[in-house]
Symmetry: C2
Subunit: 253 residues, 2 copies
C-alpha cells in the first residue's frame, strides 16, 4: 500500500489514501474509520506514522477522533447563513437581538451571557472609535450559545458619553437593542462597516468555543457610524468558522 521509494513520506501517503477514500464516498460523513491498530496492519507502518497521517486529516477538519470510541469522518455541520442586509433600521436589532432572530429562523435554542463594564480606551479601540486613548469606554461582552453550544463571541465598545444613563449600560438593552437606544438618544445611524478576516482560534477561544482542531474562526469587526461620520460603536465578533456563512448584498451601481 505504501510506496517506499517514491520519496513521498509514508504518513502523507496514508493521509492521501484515506482522504481519497473519504472523498470517493467509501467512508461517508459520520462513518467510523478503521482503528489506529487496524491501520497499522493495513498500511504496514508504525503507530506514530499512522497518527501523523490522522493528524493531517484532523488539521484539515475532515476527521475527528473520539477517545475510547474511534475515528470518524466529520459530519457536515448545519451552516447558518447570516444576511447582513438585515442590519437595516427597518429590521432593527443589535447583535444580540439579531442572534435571537436567527435562533427563531434556524430553530435552535439561544442563550446569551452578557457582562458589562467600563474601561479606558486602548490605542486600537480609541483609533477605531476616533476618541482619545484613555477615554472611558462602555464594553459589552457577550457569549452566545445555540442549544448549549457556544457559537459566537461578541464584544461591543461605545464611547461612554453616548451610553451614560441609557439602558445600553444594562445587561438587557431592551427591544431593538443598542442601536434603538442610541437613536432614542438622538444619534442618527448612517451606516455600518464590516471587516471580515479569518484565522485559527487563540487557545482561549478554542476552549470557549469548544473548537475541535482544524476549525478556523471568522473575525468580524463591525463599526457603526452616525450621520456626522462619527464611529459610535465597534463590535468585535468571533464566529465558529464551520457554522457560519456571512451574506452581503452589494448594489451594482
Amino acid at each position: 500500500m505504501i510506496d517506499r521509494v517514491s520519496g513521498v513520506p509514508a504518513y502523507r501517503q496514508v493521509a492521501s489514501d484515506l482522504r481519497n477514500k473519504i472523498q470517493a464516498g467509501q467512508y461517508a460523513a459520520g462513518d467510523k474509520l478503521p482503528s489506529e491498530r487496524q491501520l497499522i496492519v493495513d498500511y504496514g507502518v508504525s503507530r506514530i506514522t499512522i497518527r501523523e497521517a490522522i493528524g493531517l486529516l484532523r488539521a484539515e477538519g475532515i476527521v475527528t477522533a473520539e477517545h475510547g470510541k474511534g475515528l470518524y469522518v466529520r459530519a457536515g455541520v448545519s451552516v447558518v447563513r447570516l444576511s447582513r442586509s438585515r442590519l437595516s433600521r427597518a429590521a432593527r436589532q443589535d447583535n444580540q437581538a439579531f442572534f435571537l432572530g436567527d435562533a427563531e429562523a434556524n430553530a435552535f435554542k439561544p442563550t446569551v451571557q452578557t457582562t458589562v463594564r467600563i474601561e479606558e480606551a486602548g490605542l486600537e479601540h480609541a483609533d477605531a472609535l476616533g476618541i482619545e486613548p484613555g477615554s472611558p469606554v462602555l464594553v459589552r461582552d457577550r457569549v452566545m450559545s445555540a442549544d448549549g453550544v457556544v457559537v459566537q463571541l461578541a464584544t461591543s465598545r461605545l464611547p461612554r458619553d453616548l451610553t451614560e444613563g441609557t439602558q445600553i449600560e444594562q445587561g438587557d438593552t431592551g427591544a431593538g437593542g443598542i442601536h434603538a437606544r442610541l437613536e432614542e438618544a438622538g444619534v442618527v445611524l448612517h451606516h455600518h462597516r464590516e471587516s471580515v478576516a479569518t484565522r485559527m482560534p487563540t487557545a482561549e477561544e478554542a476552549v470557549l468555543l469548544q473548537l475541535p482542531p482544524g476549525v478556523p474562526v471568522l473575525a468580524v469587526r463591525r463599526t457603526t457610524y452616525d450621520t456626522t461620520g462619527r464611529a459610535v460603536e465597534v463590535n468585535d465578533m468571533t464566529l465558529v468558522g464551520n457554522r457560519y456563512e456571512l451574506v452581503y448584498d452589494i448594489p451594482a451601481d
Copy 2:
C-alpha cells in the same frame, strides 16, 4: 519546568510555556526559538513530546519550522484590505481588473494566469445560476499572484448563451472585464451577493497557495444578478486567510 502530577499533558505544558513567552514578547516576531534538541534539555522531555508541542503552535499559526534552519515566531504578514463597495458600476472592474487595481494600491507586482473552458453545469452551479443541469457553462479559472506568491484563486461561471461570441470567452476580457462586456451585450447588472465562509484549505489548495500549516482560507462566492433577477455570473474565490480582510459597507436604513 514540567509539572508531572498536574494531569496536564507535558506537550501542552510545553506549548503553553512557549506561547506565553511569545505573547510576552520574550520571543518577538521573526525570532528564532531554541532548537528541538535544546528544548528537549530545557523541558526534560522526549523529542516526540517537543514535536507535539511545536505541532500545536504551528497549527495555531504562531510558529513556523524551516528545515535545516530552525523554529521561528511567525512574522506578521501585511494584510490587504479589499473594499467590496468598489464593485460598483462607476468603479467597474471584474475580479481580475479588481485584483490589478489592488496591486496598484498596495504596491505589489501582480500576475494572473487564466484558463477558459466550457463545461456542462453540475447540480450545484446549475442551481446557483438558475439554469438546467447539463446546460453549457463558460468557466474562467484564474490563479492570481502577488510578487510571485499565489494569493488568490478564482473561478467564474456564466451561462454559455450570455458569453458566446463575446470577449468573455477570451483570456483577456478587456477594459472593465466581464461585467463591462455583459453590459455591452445588453445585460443590466443589478446587484452582487457575496457569501463569505472560512475553512482549512484542501490539500490541493495548500499546495497551490503555498500555505503553511495553520493558515485557513476565505471562501467567497459572489453571485451577480441582473435587473430581471437572473443570476448571470457565479464567482468562487479562495483567498489566503492571513493576507486578506474583506470590507463591506452596509447602509443603516
